[in-house]
């Protein structure tokens, strides 16, 4: 399979080599070739983008992901429509990431909501261990005041490395909502999410240091440092 992909990569690379700036034929494997193609396409290289679209349409999963990753940053209606189709193809082919992305896309402003379909897609994503899908289902459980289910889903998402879920699950743990109260675990989760530059978690730590919460000994200096860290994380997130 890998060899076949590599062959496909090589063929596609050769097809677009003249129009791109990367030596695709030197790519060590299909993944690298796709990464380079995506990079070139991201720089508005029409040849590379067309190659990605063709690859995607032929059912190549990694090309589909690369093409979706390219389209997701574009706001024009044509790109959004193309993205929806690409993701729908992926979801139908069993791609849990695509299902989750599609659910997020369909939940966005300006798109008529088919809530049942969104929930189905999120369930597919969650079953496929996509952390964001578990988090989004967890948020729905929170809104429905089903705290135990919310805790379970957010814990899943947190375990999968989703920083916002770590933060939200930590909030439940420190309050003992839907899960036994566990401040030590909440602190560890805030720190983990903070390490991932998730600003609200760092802000929670700044507050905890200031007020001596979560088993920490109050330390104004440490709080100030965390506050600065949060400011930096926010600057990176919103700039």
């Amino acid at each position: 399979m890998k060899r076949a992909l590599a062959g496909l990569a090589l063929a596609a690379a050769l097809a677009v080599a003249a129009a791109t700036t990367r030596p695709f034929w030197e790519a060590p494997d299909a993944g690298q070739a796709q990464a380079w193609l995506h990079d070139a396409a991201d720089r508005r290289d029409a040849g590379a983008e067309a190659a990605l679209a063709r690859w995607s349409a032929r059912g190549n999963a990694s090309a589909r992901r690369a093409y979706a990753a390219l389209l997701v940053h574009r706001a024009d209606a044509t790109s959004r429509q193309a993205l929806q189709l690409v993701l729908a193809d992926g979801a139908a082919a069993g791609d849990a990431e695509a299902a989750t992305q599609l659910a997020e896309l369909l939940s966005g402003a300006g798109i008529a909501h088919d809530d049942a379909r969104i929930v189905r897609l999120l369930a597919q994503g969650s079953a496929g261990h996509v952390p964001a899908a578990s988090r989004l289902l967890g948020l729905r459980a929170l809104d429905a005041h089903d705290l135990p289910r919310a805790a379970t889903l957010l814990a899943q998402a947190a375990d999968g490395g989703d920083a916002p879920a770590m933060f939200l699950y930590a909030n439940l743990l420190r309050a003992g909502q839907g899960v036994p109260r566990d401040e030590a675990r909440a602190l560890a989760l805030y720190e983990r999410a903070g390490d991932a530059d998730y600003a609200p978690a760092i802000q929670a730590l700044a507050i905890a240091w200031r007020y001596g919460e979560l088993g920490l000994q109050a330390d104004a200096s440490q709080s100030r440092l965390m506050d600065h860290e949060a400011a930096e994380a926010l600057a990176h997130a919103t700039r």
């Binding site: 929170l142 490395g161 916002p164 919103t238």
Partner: protein, 682 residues
């Protein structure tokens, strides 16, 4: 590499040779040699600072108070200790130098450092003596013109005059290298991509003699390619970035060909296990894989490396040894930030048939902290403060500069009992900001009311001095920091009337349930944090009561908007901060999903802008709305709370009736008094 930097390197090498030779001669007459015998070794200690962010002195400009936990004046003490203990040392900086404190903003934006003067942080760094350093992402925050000025460069980029028409300003004395930021004008790196520094080290020959040997140390620098997104406005069209790995692959062989004996990569970033891309933020796992790099100096992540106990995910990935301190097998350090730590790499160089090589079996890495085991800090290097006194005092004067005036005292001493003098103006600033944004950018929401929430961040937790108190007719920048404590950013959430009621019910957890029939004294305020006691305001349009005789969840009464009971199903926009909007505090319905606008602007900056625009804050306009009050109830016993002593008259001035001080000292040792409030007159 330019001729100038080569000449500078040669000059430095000559000076170093003379100095080292003189030192050794004084020690007993060992000879200087340019041709080491095979097997000759050099014990070399390389040090790193990173992410200094203009923290020179241990001082908090917002608090106008010392803060010994930060500042290069204390790192300098560690550097001197290392130099005293080791014959051969080098010092590098991994970037993010010029921005990050009020002092940085002061020199860049307020009282711009003149072309002929050196930036304060570079004065300190030059005094300490660096061998080389790189450029961090924050160096680009003030634009290429300012960066060129303070680093003594004349960039050949589109948005600046031709280099020949630019003045040659004063930069740091040490060479700054950056290989992966390229001008779109001439396709060349805007800084020297690397430098080769010839150092004359004390060495030991196989027969035990001490000699001085020249070693050529190549230093190459990198910064995160994401600067193109983070500083798009400053950089777009003027420069581009190249991938770290490809750039290293291009220059390392060139450096070797030019004679570099060993190579140090000073890279403002960390490691990341994600597949390599030319735009990845932390590409050091891949940089270190490029053959020829002997040492990696990292930064940007504001972390300590090595650190066996680190929970940082990036330090737990394959290829990174957080105990030994290696990245892709290359010895590496990251020295935290703000001068809190010093990175140290101890190397043994051995001369062989192919020249100098690092004996990897003898390499160790560590970081030293300015904080001692007993939580005290090492003494500051007394030579640093005098160098930057003018800039330090100028910054203090700046934060004291009035941005407006006020005809009333803004305080949180009685925020727990309904005083909103220090909160209302924050809410007004937030609401005005969000209203303007919605009007300009979110037409679908233009018909919705915009409300705002904010909390008394300082509400006596640490004692009688832990309250906001702006007790002056002049309002200065540091007062804004007193009014808004945290570095939050503004967010607008779309919520229903029911959501707002639930929000306020949670905030009302600030109070204990009061039994009106009890004749015993009852404490009004619970352990619910003051920073979560959100106060809703609508510039006079919102009114509500908190009935403390009711259980949690049933305390908000008579919640009205424009005189009408709030419609549970109606939609509202509420201006708040990113922490709350993301779920901070665990408020029901707030979990990041209701945000309709996440602003890049800090609540504090929005407040400063609001005060500047208003010029004068008037009690009648900004301080006496009192959107909430307690539901009147007659209690059989006294209802008590604590605040700073001697302020009962202030409560009356602010319209809070029935407040009397009953005990000047609550016995906690925190400078708090006990007050009593008559809930029947609220």
């Amino acid at each position: 590499m330019t001729t100038t930097s080569l000449a500078t390197a040669r000059h430095r090498a000559l000076v170093a040779t003379l100095a080292a030779a003189a030192t050794l001669a004084a020690c007993g007459g060992d000879k200087t040699s340019n041709a080491p015998a095979a097997g000759t070794t050099v014990a070399l200690t390389m040090m790193e600072t990173t992410d200094l962010h203009q923290n020179i002195l241990g001082y908090d400009y917002y608090k106008l108070a010392a803060d010994n936990s930060v500042g290069i004046e204390r790192t300098s003490t560690l550097i001197k200790q290392v130099r005293a203990a080791n014959k051969n040392t080098m010092l590098f900086d991994a970037g993010d130098i010029i921005q990050g404190t009020v002092l940085g903003d002061y020199q860049a934006l307020v009282n711009k450092v003149p072309c002929t003067d050196k930036l304060a942080i570079f004065k300190a760094m030059d005094s300490i003596g660096y061998d080389a350093g790189t450029i961090g992402n924050h160096e680009f925050n003030y634009g290429l013109g300012y960066l060129g000025q303070v680093t003594g460069r004349q960039f050949n980029v589109k948005n600046l005059a031709a280099p020949s028409a630019q003045p040659k300003c004063t930069g740091p004395a040490y060479p700054q290298v950056l290989a992966n930021v390229v001008s779109t004008t001439d396709s060349k790196p805007i800084f020297d991509p690397y430098v080769i520094v010839t150092k004359n080290f004390s060495a030991t020959t196989p027969d035990g003699k001490t000699v001085v040997v020249p070693v050529k140390v190549g230093v190459i620098g990198f910064t995160p390619p994401l600067i193109m997104a983070w500083d798009k406005g400053n950089l777009d069209g003027n420069v581009t970035t190249t991938g770290l790995k490809e750039t290293a692959q291009q220059y390392i062989p060139e450096m070797k060909a030019k004679g570099a004996d060993i190579i140090v990569a000073v890279s403002h970033g960390g490691p990341d296990s994600a597949a390599y891309s030319a735009t990845m933020e932390n590409g050091n796992l891949y940089v270190a894989q490029v053959p020829g790099i002997d040492v990696l100096m990292m930064g940007h992540m504001h972390q300590v490396f090595p650190n066996a106990n680190s929970s940082v995910a990036a330090f737990g990935i394959a290829g990174v040894d957080k105990t030994k301190g290696t990245v892709s097998g290359v010895p590496a350090v990251m020295a935290n930030f703000w001068g809190k730590n010093l990175g140290v790499v101890n190397l043994t160089l051995k001369y062989g048939a192919n020249g100098w090589a690092v004996d990897t079996s003898a390499t160790t890495t560590a970081t030293l902290s300015t904080q001692n085991a007993d939580k005290t800090y090492v003494a500051a290097d007394a030579t640093i403060a005098p160098l930057v006194q003018a800039e330090h005092q100028g910054t203090i004067a700046y934060v004291k500069t009035p941005i407006g005036t006020t005809d009333y005292r803004l305080s949180t001493y009685f925020a727990d009992v309904g005083d909103t003098t220090a909160i209302q103006v924050v809410n007004q600033a937030q609401a005005a900001y969000v209203k303007a944004y919605v009007a300009a950018n979110l037409p679908q929401y233009q018909s919705l009311p915009v409300l705002s929430v904010s909390a008394p961040f300082k509400s006596g937790f640490a004692g009688g001095t832990d309250y906001t108190d702006v007790n002056s007719t002049d309002l200065a920048i540091y007062n804004a920091a007193d009014l808004y404590l945290y570095a939050n950013t503004i967010q607008a959430v779309l919520v229903t009337g029911a959501d707002i009621k639930a929000w306020l019910e949670t905030a009302a957890g600030r109070f204990n349930k009061i039994d009106p029939t009890s004749t015993s004294a009852q404490w009004l305020v619970s352990s619910f944090p003051g920073y979560n006691f959100d106060v809703l305001d609508g510039d006079g349009s919102v009114k509500y009561e908190i009935d403390v005789t009711q259980p949690l969840g049933s305390r908000i009464r008579n919640l009205t908007v424009n005189g009408t009971a709030i419609d549970a199903a109606a939609q509202f926009i509420v201006a708040t901060n990113n922490y709350r909007a993301s779920g901070g505090g665990g408020f029901p319905g707030l979990n990041g999903s209701k945000t309709i606008y996440a602003s890049p602007d800090a609540n504090r900056d929005v407040l400063i802008a609001y005060i500047k625009k208003a010029a004068t804050l008037a009690r009648t306009v900004n301080g006496n709305d009192r959107s909430w009050h307690f539901t009147r109830v007659t209690t059989a016993g006294p209802i008590q709370f604590t605040s700073a002593p001697g302020n009962a008259a202030l409560a009356a001035t602010d319209g809070i009736l029935g407040v009397t001080q009953v005990q000047a000292d609550d016995g906690s040792g925190k400078g708090l008094a006990v007050y009593q409030i008559d809930l029947s007159v609220q």
